[in-house]
Amino acid sequence: MGSTLRIVNGRVHDPANGVDGKTRDICIKDGKIVKSVPPKTKCVDAKGMVVMPGGVDIHCHIAGAKANIARKLQPDDHRRDIHRRMELEKINTRSGTGGTVPSTFTTGYRYATLGYTTAMEAAAPPLLARHTLEELDDTPVIDKGFYILMGNNVLLYKMLQEERHEEIRNAVAWWLNATKSYTTKLVSPGSDEPWKGHRNATITQLNDKIDGFEQLTPRKIITSMVNTVDDLGLPHPVHIHCNNLGHSGNYKTTLETMKAADGRRIHVTHIQFHSYGGKPDGEPTSKAPEIAEYINNNPNITADVGQVMFGKSTSMTADAPLAWMLTRYSNDKRWVNADTECESGCGIIPFAYQERVYTHALQWATGLELFLLSKDPWRMVLSTDHPNGGAFTSYPRLIRTLMDREFRKQQMESVNQRAVAKIKRGHHMEREYTLQEIAIITRAGPARILGLKNKGHLGPGADADITIYDEHEDKELMFSAPRYVIKDGRLIIDNHEFRNNHEGKILHVSPLYDEGIEDVIRPFVEDFYTIRFDNYAVSDHYAPRREVIPTTKQ
């Protein structure tokens, strides 16, 4: 790039470097933030504006097999939400469609338009990694990575059943390398075997035996993966979608899962969906206080909220039994199930959260409670589990809901009153997030949890991914339309106008492993998969622009 840029007069929110609203210059050279640039450098005058690092989405579903089935399934979701092709001075942008599962190009442009510069696709079956990477390569502007589904992996089950822990560590490292992914994801560990192999049965307890693997329980799988990822020193710990998502009374499972980590690092994702009291099959209640308290007191735990936003969503998950259960509550009769051999399940249904529905209003309020009860914004960060709780395009509204007490109260009045009666009286409902806290839960926090040392801050050496907002009373307006967005030092949005296209990179890990593990994986793949072992690993071709994030052991 070889270019320099200086941002002057802006109020800088850079929590990672302890800067809270001070006016200072930010200097950029060759796509990185530097201490200084020559005096004649081109300036962006950010007077009256707020300067933050670019947003980092720690958990979203934007690319790969399930996102694409969701697109094919729902022309109704995007046919009215068009994204036009633009002819820019230097380059043209691609057209596309939006809705809750936008086409790949539109996904990239719209993240950038919101001031987000990094996003992590949260669930891909390793066998289909090429698909995820091809779509991410067609997702412009932002940097991106993805997590591989390892909680229902049959070969790992066999190894774990025989307590072959050393081999598990090598196999997981092999898989991360073979797929160019970022970390491992557990989705309702243990649930696929009864679903696929036992007439759509489900598993509900962490100590339940798993069909066909008598020595195994979800608890054993969780403990094994927590330890494995920790031992490998991955920048981001294991990313867990706990068992019993959405079920009344599931907060106990969530607490048990967090306790199973036994002090080691775990990231519990879309924890709102896992914070319910009540009897199984009965109405849910909020157990946000219990969950928030546990997280506040246990620094090894990080979480993203998975806030529900009213309106259209798409429920798409590796948790196939959950999607099947949701069909009971959806007015839309379309349902997709998609099994991936030896690795994963998948369920997709179109969904809509409605203010008047008790459960939906309770889910919405539970998410807000988690935000408002969290004492450490670095460890409880923003997500909607896009597009499950709502689309990422609703983040500005969510930010306003957190920052603006009166706005929140107004909304509270317009939803199912029985659902929010108890929550409304809580003292925490008065809390208002500050700009600094927003900067933490939308960029600095996720970047730190992901172990991305060059993201989420504005200190020298950081990637020059920067968003500049006009200060505005209406925070929804403020966060939906940044004045400037800079990616790798390039002005993508310049004075509210989309001016420049850019291709971001794939962020992945490459932990070391003993190559002897291939002799263990190879025969299994050749017997029980349908592609040859030597055709499994993706080549560099699928990630033409990439950055390897080192492990703590490298």
Binding site: L73, R94, D527
Partner: protein, 459 residues
């Protein structure tokens, strides 16, 4: 990390390429062992290939054909690129069609070309399982990768398809005689049912053959759905479908009581009366059965990378086929933006055919229109479409000369290996060159239009 394109052993002029992929059909078998005579530029052996795969590999020869033809006369690739770009840049309603026998890398560029031109893009899906794509939008689906079926399925039903002749290794690799985790005794662990209007070569492997009257598939499917839900079915259904109530009830019991059931369906459903209603009925039947057990309903796809075409077009536009960009954004409308209709109605004023031969396999009325408009074709072979085209490129074979990605019919992406070089350019190279030239032409057009406007204002 291993690099897929490099798994080859050489000895003198003989090269062995292991784990190559055959792109003939949607099975996309990736266990080919190819023996290559590098000097003779021939593949002498194709171990593991079926009869179609053997024909593909062993018949391969780099034909000594011109790099391109313009109006039937020999031309260079560069000249043909110029001519093709001129045709496309000057067209008002161009279409790209085909895409099922080329790499995803090419498909991605082709969609970009049409996005820029504001024309239409459609793939062979529209005359294959396009109706199933439409059915999906209405009812969803319960699907699986083929390995899950190999490992678990104990009831496999083929409906309106003849894999023995169109997907020859489907039985052995995936669904009938394949050995899986919970099907160690292969066919003994499965019940195979075949439903068709005629006794095809796929019937002998079946334990049960049900002959349905032509054009009565929908009625049979709907009756089965009703029986699964214990609803009353009018006995006249026997006459209508040619299938006895006893046979239907027996099948329903088998479906409800299996552990992992699969309905594979072919174009006997999508290409006959009912089309997407047939597909929707069978997808719904598969989904309904999940109340009782685990059940899958999934189409069998023909061409090597036709699934890739749907996949790429969907991730780039939100829709699987039949997409038009003339308003500057993607619109989807089967019947309007599908190739047969655009040619039959005479809407298209230029066509680029990418690795397909509609000149041979489209309805006569469509072919008649193709003859009237400037057509561009990219194909390793000389085809009926090439014969009627204004510009015909000779391109290299994907999966033999050209690496890249193809999607198996169940959505598993496979990286193709190469075994021989070709002097001809790849589809991707030609499409990229056309893209660049069209881009220049459109900019020039815009400028001259701007200049004209100024002149008019001045006058």
């Amino acid at each position: 990390m291993m690099r897929v394109a490099e798994k080859a052993k050489s000895e003198g002029n003989i090269k062995i390429v292991e784990d190559a992929t055959c792109t003939f059909c949607g099975c996309l078998c990736d266990d080919m062992v190819l023996t290559v005579d590098v000097d003779a530029k021939k593949i002498t052996k194709a171990k593991n290939a079926c009869v179609l795969g053997k024909a593909l590999f062993l018949n391969y020869e780099e034909e000594d054909r011109p790099f391109a033809l313009i109006g039937g006369k020999e031309a260079t690739t560069a000249e043909a690129v110029e001519e093709a770009a001129q045709i496309l840049a000057n067209a008002r309603f161009p279409i790209i069609y085909g895409m099922s026998d080329t790499t995803c890398e090419t498909q991605r560029k082709a969609v970009g070309l049409m996005d820029m031109l504001g024309g239409t893009i459609d793939s062979t899906t529209s005359v294959c399982h396009g109706p199933t794509g439409m059915a999906l939008q209405g009812v969803g689906e319960s699907t699986a990768t083929l390995g899950e079926i190999k490992n678990r399925a104990d009831l496999v039903i083929y409906w309106g398809g003849n894999p023995a002749e169109s997907l020859p290794r489907h039985f052995a690799r995936y669904a009938v005689t394949a050995k899986g985790m919970y099907t160690p005794n292969r066919k003994k662990d499965r019940t195979i049912v075949n439903i068709d209007v005629r006794h095809t070569k796929s019937v002998p492997v079946a334990d049960i053959f049900i002959q349905v009257k032509p054009g009565a598939d929908f009625e049979l499917l709907w009756a089965l759905r009703a029986l699964v839900k214990n609803r009353h079915v009018d006995p006249n259904i026997e006459k209508k479908t040619g299938v006895s109530m006893k046979t239907m009830k027996d099948l329903v019991e088998r479906m409800k009581n299996c552990r992992y059931g699969v309905l594979f369906f072919g174009m006997g459903l999508t290409m006959t009366r009912g089309r997407h209603f047939n597909s929707a009925a069978i997808l719904s039947l598969g989904s309904d059965l999940n109340e009782y057990t685990h059940f899958i309903a999934t189409p069998m796809r023909g061409h090597g990378n036709v699934t890739g075409a749907d996949t790429v077009v969907a991730w780039q536009t939100g829709y699987p086929f039949g997409v038009n960009f003339s308003r500057g954004y993607p619109k989807f409308n089967p019947g309007e933006f599908t190739a047969t209709d655009m040619f039959v109605r005479g809407d298209a004023d230029a066509g680029l055919i990418l690795a397909s031969d509609p000149g041979s396999n489209f309805t006569q009325a469509a072919v008649d229109h193709m003859k009237k408009i400037p057509m561009i074709v990219l194909d390793p072979k000389y085809t009926h479409t090439a014969k009627l085209a204004r510009v015909a490129f000779t391109t290299a074979h994907y999966g033999i000369n050209v690496p890249g990605t193809a999607y198996r019919s169940d959505g598993v992406p496979i990286e193709l290996r190469t075994c021989l070089d070709s002097k001809y350019p790849s589809d991707e190279e030609v499409i990229t060159a056309i893209y660049r030239r069209v881009e220049q032409l459109l900019i020039a057009k815009k400028r001259s239009k701007g200049a004209n406007n100024k002149r008019q204002k001045a006058a």
